[in-house]
Symmetry: C2
């Protein structure tokens, strides 16, 4: 993308990578004229495939992957009680966690996702296992051990803020010492499940370790009502995170959903440079609503897309693009006809450069960006008339099956090649 | 399905087929005790696969398959002008039509669809070609040559009602004489593109040949306004079809969309037993809106699902199920909280028994129903905990890729087996 509005494509192009980063994008003929190649250079020809920047999944719960596509018959708070928390309890068992996380990773490999912000569970060991699995597979992901010390079920709720913080400290230091690529991220589940003391101490950890933060914000009507009840003196939901230094004022923060963010909250999001993880599949599946993303876009906020496994049922960022466009059309039709639907280019931008900016330099092929690259094979989608590269890309993002990813590079390193 | 509300599953079951029809469903042990097997009986063991009734796609435009996933940046009437009509013009060329229809059929084979109501184009020869291709592949589909003699672009609009009717007559007789399984269906495109004379003569053809009818109804605000302007004296959109005998009073009729059907229209739909083809992907993609399907369900109307290729971008009936559930959640949240979201069972019923009733006895495994059977392999979707058959089915419908269909039978005959 040259800018937020313009999708640039090159027919018969070459992407030049130097070390971890993009050196430049050339037309084939220009590239052949370049004389900078050294003996060590290798050229891989992907034929008629499409080559795009890697996609960032800005919000997902890895331990919920096991039950994706099931139990989506209730709203957020009930769904957490009945489904999500019940599954997450199992991750106290490292053997189960390993089995489930390997299934998740196996599918992640085939996807166009190259970066992700992941929630683990409260369990420090299995969250570390998740981090190490991603690290071994070549993903420079953010992984968080979840904090929740109130309003949570037995067997999942942490016994005290102190235990929660100590376990988080252990997790942070383990990840920092044992992982090469994966980094820790502070992960208070959401306001209702964290005591004031916990939020306060997480704010201190945030400064001590200079860590980014991920959480949930203004997702669902009942959830926002509950938060207002719990914090009657706060101006808005995000103000609570902000009060404790967990809202982008000290380090980058990403907040999932923002379906019901009011003007004050949006102003603070903008002021603090907080990222919004727009999760349209989840917001639909849990009947939360539709976030007015075009408004946030016009407002200049930083927006990426998230699958929100398993509030969302699909791990595919292609599906996140589809859903971002789709729900924006319904928002235009049913809620506010002054907000035009998102274009494909906008949604593609969010999936790549938009979310990639959290990492902070990936998701485009501009020189100096980290070379996260996805090679897409659309030969399984024949068409009786010729298509431009833009049309091939749009079509593929709407029609893609899981086997369209032919290869995937992260920081210039091949992490996945589709079996022949 | 035992009834509209209850999804029945049998673990380790056997489906017995006699000729074209379902003889019964048994538990494995019961089946082994049966002594009705003759020497000619064959038993196919599909191991741990799921076996479900075939799905009916109650509304799709085969000639639009080529541009699915493209050009969904406008509303219905503009989209027809800019995209659909431009593509359909090409079907005057039999060579192009053959190439495009074969691509369509190739993908249809891999899908869970066993029955379909298809629109061709105005062109009689290429519509016949579509019918013959489906016939050869074993699909007892309804195929319609489209009628449109006004408000349509040059190169597509038929020159007169007389020519349109004569071509339709030719098409009907050719299909009836040259196809074994495929049957013709009258297909006035929609009210705005048909002259009164054409609608009148189609009404006569309907009686003469005792043919079913398919068309569009109350899809989009601008379209319904246009229809009101064209027929200011009609009580409602469907009343125009009804006036000409094309609305289920003489033979079965299926109407796509019904997003904006008012009480009078619904009453006539019920009185005449008109089928509604609910096309949630299309209604979202063209920003038409959301049909209040739960209301129609409670009202006892006959409802099936349609992909509406290429207003909808996906040929997958799994996707139609997903979208039916998804948009009903958004309808509940954004429009009318008195209408609960559709359950998975309801959407699955519509995709199978609901639409299948148009054919008229397929889509369930009740004895005597035509044996349309889809064998689904979910081994590519591992899960770390055990799942019930119902859970496996729901999950598969939400997560399915195109390669989950292991085999497909129509009227007891194997029409597709996935390559090993």
């Amino acid at each position: 993308m040259a800018d937020r509005q313009t999708l640039c494509t090159i027919r018969h192009g070459c992407l030049a990578i130097q070390g971890n980063t993009v050196e430049g994008v050339y037309k084939e003929k220009e590239f052949q004229k370049l004389t900078i190649h050294s003996d060590k250079d290798t050229v891989t020809d992907y034929g008629d495939c499409l080559i795009i920047p890697g996609m960032t999944d800005l919000h997902l719960h890895a331990p919920q992957y096991a039950f994706r596509g099931l139990g989506m018959d209730c709203e957020l708070l009930d769904w957490l009680e009945k489904h999500a928390f019940q599954e997450e309890k199992k991750y106290s068992d490292l053997e189960y966690a390993g089995r489930a996380y390997r299934m998740f990773l196996n599918d992640l490999q085939k996807s166009p996702t190259t970066r992700a912000c992941l929630f683990g569970t409260v369990h420090k060991e299995s969250s570390l296992l998740l981090a190490k699995l991603l690290d071994s597979a070549g993903y420079p992901a953010y992984v968080g051990k979840v904090n929740m010390d109130k309003n949570s079920p037995d067997g999942l709720q942490e016994q005290s803020a102190e235990i929660s913080v100590n376990d988080t400290r252990w997790f942070i230091e383990k990840v920092q010492s044992e992982c090469h690529l994966v980094k820790p991220i502070l992960t208070p589940r959401f306001v209702p499940s964290c005591s004031n003391l916990l939020l306060e101490e997480l704010g201190e950890l945030c400064q001590e370790y200079a860590l980014p933060v991920q959480s949930h914000l203004s997702e669902n009507p009942k959830e926002t009502q509950l938060v207002r009840k719990l914090f009657p003196n706060s101006h808005f939901y995000g103000d609570i995170y902000h009060h404790f230094g967990l809202f982008g004022s000290h380090s980058p923060a990403v907040m999932a959903h923002c379906v019901y963010s009011g003007e004050e909250e949006l102003a603070k999001i903008k002021e603090n440079g907080v990222f919004i993880a727009h999760c349209p599949n989840s917001n639909t599946s849990l009947a939360s609503g539709i976030a007015p993303i075009q408004k946030y876009w016009d407002y200049g906020l930083s927006i990426g897309l998230g699958t929100d496994i398993a509030g969302g049922f699909s791990l595919s960022m292609f599906r996140a693009i589809q859903d971002a466009v789709s729900v924006s059309k319904l928002y235009w039709r049913l809620v506010d006809s002054s907000l035009p639907p998102l274009t494909f280019s906008q949604a593609f931008y969010m999936a790549t450069a938009g979310g990639g900016a959290f990492f902070p330099k990936t998701g485009t092929f501009l020189p100096g960006y980290e070379a996260d690259v996805v090679v897409l094979d659309d030969s399984g989608l024949p068409c009786p008339f010729p298509l431009s590269p833009e049309e091939r890309l749009e079509r593929l993002c709407f029609l893609a099956d899981s086997d369209v990813v032919a290869a995937k590079y992260i920081q210039g390193r091949l992490v996945y090649a589709r079996p022949l």
